[in-house]
Each structure stands twice: as C-alpha cells, then as structure tokens.
Subunit: 436 residues, 2 copies
C-alpha cells in the first residue's frame, strides 16, 4: 500500500464519528484488500484530491475512510460469474467505511449516490460488492423527520393493542369497480380486519378512479366503525407520478382514506419523504423494485439498508418480503428487515431519534402464519398482510377476517390451531383452504 | 397446463397491441415453462380474478398475457446460487408478456411496479428472472413528454455539430470552494471543452453552496463564450431531495447553468419527469444506483430498460457505464444502452414519438477513447465524459480540453494518435498520462 492509499485509512478513535455515516460492505477483490478498500473509498469520495500544480489535499476533510477491514477468506472461485476476467488470487472481505456527512448532507438521493453509486460499484480490483448496512450518528438522524406516527402512534391510530395488526389486500386487486370493491372491503371490516388495503397494483384508473374509490371506501369504513364500535382503516395506494402525490394524498385524506401507501422504490424514497412532510395520516411502504438489487448474497444492496432508508424517509409501516416458499427470502434476511424497522439506527445501543416503523413481512399469509411469525419476531409489534386468506376465503371476506382473529385467539389461549378450529368454523375453513 | 393457466396466454393477433406494453423477460424455472409463465402473468396482474361466489372474470381485460415463450435450454445447474431449494429439472426461458396499459396508465412508478415489482420477482416456480426489455406502443409514448431537446436540440443548444460532444467532470470533484472550482472550469472552456460538469458527488453543500457555485460558473462560462466565440456549457448537478429540485433548477438556470444533471435512480425517475415538465434547459442523467440491479446476466433489470425509462422521463443525455476495464460492462451491454437512447422505443421500425437522447458512455475516458467508441457506435452522436484526462492533465484543464480536440482531429484526418501527437503537445502529454 502506498502513501496515497494510506490516506484513505483512519486509525480508530481519530475521527469524530458524529461527522460520518458508516457504510458496511462485503466485497471480493482480485487485488490486495487494503488496496481494494482504498480504491473503494477514493472512487466514492475524493476521486481526485488536488488540482494540478497546487499543493493541497482534500482527503483529510472529504475522503471516505476505512475504519475496519476483515479478510474473511480466500475463495477458490469467484462468488459471482460476471464482471471478472483475469485473477490469480481472490479475497472475500468485509469493510466498514466512514463516509463524511459534509459531502452529502441530510439528503436521501445524495446518500444513495455516495453509498450505492458509480464509485461503490465501479471500483478497481473489486468485482463483487454488496452494501450490507448503514449506521448513522444521532445528530444526522435528527435532520430527518422519520415516521410521523411510528409503532406506538400507529397502535393508537388503529386502536389495536397487544396483538399483531391484521392488514388485508382487497381482491380481486385489479378490474373491480369502486362499488363492489367497497362492498368487499366493508365485509372485511365487519369481520374485524384492521386495515383493508389497496393492492400495490391498483392505481388511479378510469375503471377505479382514486377520487371515487377513496370516497366510497372512506364512507364504508366509517359505517363499519359505527356498526362494529371498532376503528377501521382503509389504506389507499397513492403511488403515481411524483407531481401527483400531494394531490392524491389530499383527495384520499379528505375522502376518508386514513392510511396511505406508496410503492417506495418504484416512486422514489425522496418523493416519499416529501409526502411525509405533508401527511396527516400514517404512511405505509410496499416493496416493489427491492428484490432486483437485494437478493444476491454477493452483489447489490441488502434489503435491510432499504428498510432503514424507508424508515428514514418517514414510513410508519414497511411491507417487505416475508417468510414462506413463495417469497424465496432467507429467514435471517426477514429478521434483518424486522430489526431495521425497530432497532436503533445508531451504533450499538445508542438512542435513536427516529421512531420505529411497524414491520410487515408479506407474502401469501393466513391465520396459520401468525404463530411462527410471532415466535420468530418475539413480539406482537408486527402486521400480517394476507390477500387470498381474507378476500378469497370460501366464506367471504367477513369470514376471512374472522379467521385471522380466531388464529390469534388460539395462540393466546395456548391451543393448537386444529383444536381451536373445532369450534370456530371460519378458522376451520381457512385451514382447509390454505393447507389443501 | 390447466384452463386457469391458459387464460394467461394470448394467441398472436388476438390482442390490440396499442393497449399493451411488452415486457421481455429471461427466467429460469423449476416447473414447466408454460405453468411458470402463467404464474408470472398472474402475479403481476390479476392475482385473484373473481370475487368469491360471483361469476366474473377480470382476466380478459386486465390480465398480463404471454404472447411468446421460448425454452432456450435445460441447464444442468441453476444460473444463480440463491433462491432455489429443491429441483429436478430446470428450464431457461425467454418470455414476452403483453401488459395491459389500462392497469397502469402513463405513469413511470406504476409501470415499474408492474414490470419490476413483487409480482415479477416473487412468482412461483421461478427462481431467476431478469427484465431484458420493454417495448411501447406509440400511443402510449405520446402521453410522455420525453426529452425536451433530444440529440438534434442538444446539438443546436451546444453548437456542436459533426463530432462527438466533449463533457468533462470538474475535478477535484469534492472539497473545492466555488472560486477555484470556477477557475479550473474556465480554463477547460478556454481549451474548448463543450460541457464542464459537476461530479455526481457534488451537491448543495456548505463548502460549495449551489447558489454561489452556479453564479460563479454561470458568469465564467459567459466570459469564456466571449473570449472563445464558442458556446460553453455548465452542467450543474441538482440532485437533492425531491422537494428541492424545482428550486435548484430555478436557481441554477437563473445563475447561468445551462444544463442540469440529476442522479436519476438515486433521486427517482418520476421526480426527473417532474423537472422535465418544468425545465428550460437540457437535462442529463447520471447512472448511480443502476449497477446493483442490472449487472447480473440472470437476475434483475437490464440497464437498457433503465436507459429507456430515463429517456421516457425526459433526459436529453444519458450517462451510463461505458467501455473499459474499470466499468466491468460487457461491450454488448454498452451498445444496448446506446441503442436504447437512439432507436425507436416502439416495435421494430415503427416511428417513435419520443425524441432520441444523446448516449454518454462514461468511465475513465481520454482522447484515445474516441476512436474505438466512434467505431463501435458508428456515429458521431455521442459524448465522452472524462474527468482526470481534462482536469488531471499535466498541462492543466485547458491543455486537457485541447487534447480531446486533437484526438478527434487525428481521427478526422485519418492519422494515428501517435503520429498526430508528434506536432500536438497536449495530445502527446495526454498519451503519456493515460498509457503510462
């Protein structure tokens, strides 16, 4: 390592870490790890640190710096089958990089550019790289609004305490006119569904205009509240072009949609933050366009990072890929996302000025999904978000919603699902429907 | 294949293709291809196509439909080492899916949700999937603004005809105060640089406030125009939170920045479209946060798709990963991006209502990059975007800019770079600097 490369390393304790976010990458290199890590810092910060013919150095104030570098192994074969040509030796490493906040400010697009931009993904000698985590100093986080409600506020908003929240995706998701769409949502509320939600694929369309849909469902959920004496929520999807988001927020809220969803990565995290600054109701993120860059263990960006950024952008609840064969997601990755919603975003056990978001691991759930999730998460602070188990329940959406409550009641009373189903027919039907 | 699955297939000629965008995927499945393709269509459209107990079917109007399915091979091993558990046989396929425009409208976030969302990436039996291309009907494209200037308009705007455009990234990219930053940009304009640009990592910072930077560089580029008699452009980076983009556009344009850059995927394509509707100057996209999902041959989204969407969002020039070892990008992928900038976005040779964008393959370029790029692209309609070759040139930025012109003059006169350098010292220095 030459002296130019050494300038991209910092001794522990020499940096004021309140001035840095920490980027935690896996990488595999074909050059010595220290050289590769120095390149990585250089490319993502002070690519050229002086003018020609001037005695100056931008690196002390503006360079990204290696604060930890571990060589995990020397693989016999490259971990990805692309981006690599000649090599004689491979190093699989984990590196922590202190990135100067003065370069980027409290801006999500700027942060993404630094952490996931050209510099990080086109660094000499590194063919495989994945951003695994970001850790923030508290002072930086204080410049973000974060969730307006958070988990505690969301429980107050929905009136649901001491158990997981039951979201349900109104189905048929596409093609149904607002009137029948309202009717099935209404049925689900009568069955006790907490949050009847738009599918991520329903937008403001000629066959289901957002104004009409939210008006009918807003009325219906208030009727259901009257009838059940219980708070009912309608989560309307405002995903659309960015210059329509505030308009759709306002229409939705005025019409009685009391939670709003944004397909976060498809719409843009910064656009979501814009809505957060304006919103009067809880915001929920859906996980479209996350899998394409988060699924490879060796390349891309870990979903945990995106979950943290969604929380930073201000989502009160975050839907992400959950358990189950269809979701093709490692159990550990699901629990990483749960932690990213709830744990501190700061180092270790430091206090976190950003509220927790409610984790909503999604994907083909039903009453039977509650027990394993509850056990894995170790808390009732989560939601499930079934579609077919409520709106495809053979007894209709009301029975579908009831079956979720029965599933939870079985857990509470310490009875097996099969036993509890003997005297609860909605659950019995649901077991047959989901385990056939 | 059962009758429910058959409903997700369309016979050729039976669909009015002006109502559909065509999504072209590679996938590898562990179930029969027709079954896998039907699942894929179902998941990304009418997941549940009827209410319980109602005789109805949303699929004729709202289902995504397979219009072409080719089994390319039966691999002996899975193409990706994750997301796959048990399998007995594998099918590697290419499928074209007609996606109903009535589901999504002319909205980029909605389109991304449909094409790259939960449905596409969590489909039963499919462990590997990559969106390779999107083809649009002309009537759909007419609902987008597209580039305001396009290639022809950009040539008029910059006054550069009959040769590639020379962009240059002002370096040191980070840490330099506006005054010296201005001075080196000014030098590069005097040397004939067409577009001196902000690095993608320079934002609105305390040490380089956007207002001051654009004011100083706006004045300097007009001075340079006076002095050289040639149009000079300053491309300022307005990347920041979405709710600041219009403000930064207005400040920049008022101060004399006559082109604006947005780190498109880090900021959001839809936010870029919002700026396009407002802009008075050409817009340029930078390629941060594209590699993480586009590099694997077997998983994610091809960069060609993102290039097309950036053009749809209204960028006049698109910087993407270009040739050369550092960029780790297949030559064919670079040329795919070039085509996505320039060719029709419609089927085959149909007319395209969206203007062409200028392709700017980036990455460690210099005068010597011109000849191979010119040959590969087969046209002068492109730009190079060196940093170090201009602003790290041993003779300074003016000499660096001159060396680019000399490199092009060598091509024009049919002389080798080495021969031409004998009587052109800036080029000679550049050759030594870049091939040492």
């Amino acid at each position: 390592m030459n002296s130019d490369q050494k300038a991209f390393f910092a001794e522990p304790g020499t940096l004021d870490m309140s001035d840095y976010v920490v980027l935690d990458y896996f990488f595999e290199s074909t050059v010595e790890p220290a050289e590769a890590a120095a390149h990585l810092c250089q490319e993502q910060s002070t690519a050229q640190w002086k003018r020609v013919g001037v005695d100056e150095d931008m690196r002390p104030r503006h360079a990204a710096k290696v604060i930890d570098l571990i060589v995990e192994r020397n693989p016999a074969q490259p971990c990805i089958p692309f981006q690599i040509e000649a090599w004689t030796k491979l190093w699989a490493c984990r590196v922590k990089i202190a990135y100067p906040i003065r370069n980027i400010g409290a801006s999500i697009p700027n942060l993404i550019t630094a952490a996931c931009g050209e510099g990080a993904f086109f660094s000499p000698g590194i063919h495989a790289i994945k951003l695994h985590d970001i850790i923030f100093p508290a002072g930086y986080l204080e410049q973000f609004e974060g969730p307006k409600f958070g988990v505690a506020g969301l429980r107050e908003w929905t009136g649901v305490h001491h158990r997981p929240l039951f979201f349900g995706v109104i189905k048929p998701n596409i093609g149904l006119a607002p009137e029948p769409f309202r009717d099935i949502a209404y049925e689900s509320w009568l069955g006790g569904l907490d949050v009847a939600k738009d599918d991520e694929l329903i937008f403001d369309s000629a066959w289901s205009p957002f104004e009409k849909r939210t008006r009918l469902l807003g009325e219906a959920r208030r009727d259901a509240e009257q009838k059940t004496g219980k708070k009912c929520c309608y989560l309307a999807n405002i995903t659309d072009e960015v210059d329509r988001l505030i308009e759709l927020h306002d229409i939705g809220v005025r019409n009685g949609a009391n939670m709003l969803m944004i397909n976060a990565m498809a719409t843009g995290l910064s656009a979501a933050r814009m809505v957060r600054k304006h919103t009067e109701v809880p915001l929920v993120a859906h996980f479209d366009f996350v899998a394409p860059f988060s699924k490879s263990p060796y390349y891309g960006v870990h979903s945990r990072v995106i979950t943290k950024l969604q929380r930073l952008a201000g989502f009160d609840a975050i839907i992400f890929a959950g358990m189950g064969a269809r979701m093709k997601t490692y159990r550990s990755a699901v629990l990483d996302d749960v932690k990213a919603c709830r744990d501190t975003l700061c180092p270790a056990d430091a206090g976190c000025p950003v509220k927790a978001a409610l984790p909503v691991p999604g994907g083909s759930q039903w009453a039977g999904s509650l027990a394993p999730l509850h056990q894995d998460i170790g808390s009732t602070d989560f939601a499930i978000v079934p579609g077919r188990a409520v709106f495809g329940h053979p007894g209709g959406p009301r029975a579908g919603a009831i079956s979720l409550h029965q599933g939870w009641d079985a857990i509470k009373t310490g009875v097996s699902l099969a036993d509890y189903a003997r005297e609860h027919q909605e659950l019995a039907m649901s077991i047959r429907h989901n385990t056939q």
